[in-house]
Amino acid sequence: MKKNVNDIINSLGGTGKLANLLGVNPSAVSNYRQKGFPARLHLKIAMLCEERSVQISNDVLEGMTVPKIIKTNPKEYLSGTSLSIVKHLSTGGFDLIDPPVIVSADKVLDRMGENSADRLFIFSDQEGLRLCLRPDLTIPTCLYYLDQGFTGEKKLYSYFGKVFQLRLDNSSGPSEYSQAGLEYIGKQDQLASEIEIFHKVESSLRSEGLKNYHTFMGDVSLFSIFLDVMDLPDLWRKRLKAKYWNESDFKALLEDLSFKKSVDNELARRVFSLDRESATDLVRRSLGISFEATPIGRSVEEIMERLRQKGEEFSLQPLSKVTVNLIKEFLSISDKPFKALDRLRLISKNLDSSLLRQIDTAKERLEKIKELGVNLDKSEFSSEKGREVEYYTGFLFDFVNSQKGKSIHLGGGGRYDNLIRSMGSKTDIPAVGAALNMENLEKALSLRLLQ
């Protein structure tokens, strides 16, 4: 039981950390040590203490406790399938949280890219701040994690709530639906956390009595490592990785790289022939700007580096037919999971062992999934799964129910280790999560009852 202000500040991480959490100057926190917390901060402090399980005596915050409404968890409003799913997901240390419905549109777009803005419900508040209704629960959950001031600590969350995505064609479903899901954020054993998330979601389907579904799995890190260990110029590697997320662009690029390029950019060729310092000078002179001046938006060095790359392109040998075919073959594998991994291993047998280790890890993951009792006959592993959206960074999975020829997407998830960084964290924080589409789940369950 913390009785005085100093104790509370110390158990919340000290002056600097608390100043950060409250968004005030450290000197202000030193001030609180002397004079106590101002009344306007009592609620916030109470919430921080509760979140971190710091017990405080009643008098420090003048009797302020976290009001019921904030503690209320969504479970109290749920019934039927939703309630049993949420109960299932929120056991085993997955705190049930209720992240905000309205989030910063800029944060969401930072993550999803500007082109998704058409699908968001965006509006402004009185001060002109751009806000939006949450398009999923992963982003607000990660923002919630950051808002608590965590920088990599292990946190397990579960959630339930409505998400909002504008349908552009009015035909492919409603603009709002409910999601129930999980996030495993921060310090973690990679394989164990993936299995835990997968298992929790998969077993919640089974506990509802749903057995007739297919599992589609993939691991986007495999192709990334495959490119890393291939004998390719760095420049080609970089461009192939960038274009991977768009299948037709990728195909066009592969085609393009199999032909020798003729020099069409004299400046690029010259920049590439010089050392970096002279090249920077040359670019500066071509721009007609003095030593101190900076071009708009990008530095002279950035422009020089890119010209170097262009110049380098012309000096490179085109990709050999063997390489192109190997890349195509690697991406073409889609099979029963163990068989798919064996085939990937066979293709990769002459490549660097780091790739083989990663394939073995994927196989180990699969063994564990099998031990959970998942029917792998109804599963598929594809080497290019996950390339439609640049989102996942490793293992990913989807559950699809098929009845009477209809496919219903029940849910899915995976690993996104760069997600939290893209939302403002200074460092990468590992994260793996999954969500179920509750409307689709209900639909699948009622279809099953009709049979």
Partner: protein
């Protein structure tokens, strides 16, 4: 039967261009009361009511179905009207207030010339600066659709409603999407259009709103009005070449069409006919050279004020769209 309402621009260059256009077509717009009112009528078509609005408001009112016809820029309609819903139809391009919606980058980006380059730079930029490149524009939807099509997703739109060209040098964006007619403002602000950076070739058009019950309206004056407007738009930027068809050449008609978009207004001529050839104004000099080299001449060039075709495509289009 209700009277049709047509919205016309109340200010700016598009208004000046439009006044010139309508005057040459012999259409007189009269404001009700003094010059400061925002309603009016057409002297020649009394059953059509006029509302004067800003070009942007016209686009919104067409979309909402609050006016039936309107003259405004194609850029504004394309930005507002959802690709899928298409609530507003173009009846005819009018040939004035031409301008392009373009992607423009700082001149100093000498490593960037195409959208392909830009896609690579946006990716590098994100890694180097840990934020996305900013595009200042008032054309948010056009920008998103175009960038999406070109495989560019690592950017953020910064809304800009005025002086967009100044945004990169002011440091509030790195590049812009804006409308330009001469390119001079871009140049003055050290900006340059990407080689494949034209998103939309815009000009003033006459539009109709689809989202209303057309059968409640009196359409009699609309057909006449559209015919007159089409006749003027067909004539704008065109010339008529008059010469005598004195030597027989059976490939002449096809050649003139292929090389100069030229058409004989009286159909295929017979030997000895005085013929009238309509071609775009900018091809008139090369076309007349071609004709003289073939031995035709003298050639007299006229600037027609109106060209009526026997079928008016604007009216046909409206009839089809509203199921008349």
């Amino acid at each position: 039967m209700k009277a049709i309402t047509m919205a016309l621009p109340s200010k700016g260059r598009i208004q000046e261009d439009m006044n010139r256009f309508l005057n040459s077509a012999g259409i007189s717009i009269i404001r009700d009361g003094d010059q400061r009112t925002y309603t009016g009528h057409i002297k020649e078509f009394e059953d059509i009511k006029i509302r004067f609005l800003s070009a942007n408001e016209i686009a919104m009112e067409l979309l909402a179905g609050n006016v039936q016809l309107g003259i405004t820029g194609l850029d504004l309609i394309s930005e507002l009207d959802n690709k899928i819903s298409k609530e507003v139809i173009i009846l005819s391009k009018l040939g004035f207030s031409k301008a392009d919606v373009v992607v423009a980058i700082p001149n100093s980006w000498i490593d960037v010339s195409s959208t392909q380059d830009l896609a690579e730079v946006t990716r590098d930029f994100l890694h180097i600066h840990e934020r996305r490149l900013r595009v200042a524009t008032k054309f948010e939807r056009l920008t998103r659709n175009f960038f999406n099509e070109k495989g560019i997703n690592n950017y953020r739109i910064v809304e800009s409603t005025g002086a967009t060209e100044g945004s990169p040098s002011a440091g509030t964006s790195e590049l812009i999407v804006d409308i330009t007619s001469s390119g001079k403002t871009l140049e003055a602000n050290n900006l340059r259009v990407l080689n494949d950076g034209v998103i939309l070739k815009s000009e003033a058009c006459i539009f109709a709103s689809k989202s209303l019950n057309w059968d409640k309206f009196n359409l009699n004056p609309v057909e006449k009005l559209l015919r007159t407007i089409s006749a003027r738009s067909e004539a704008i930027n065109k010339v008529e070449m008059l010469f005598e068809y004195l030597s027989y050449d059976d490939s002449l008609e096809l050649d003139l069409f292929r090389k100069f978009n030229g058409i004989f207004s009286g159909g295929t001529p017979n030997l000895g006919d005085a013929v009238s050839l309509i071609t775009p104004e900018k091809k008139s000099s090369s076309c007349s050279q071609y004709l003289t080299s073939k031995g035709y001449g003298p050639i007299r060039i006229n600037k027609p004020n109106l060209i009526y075709f026997n079928i008016d495509s604007a009216w046909q289009k409206l009839k089809t769209e509203i199921d008349l």
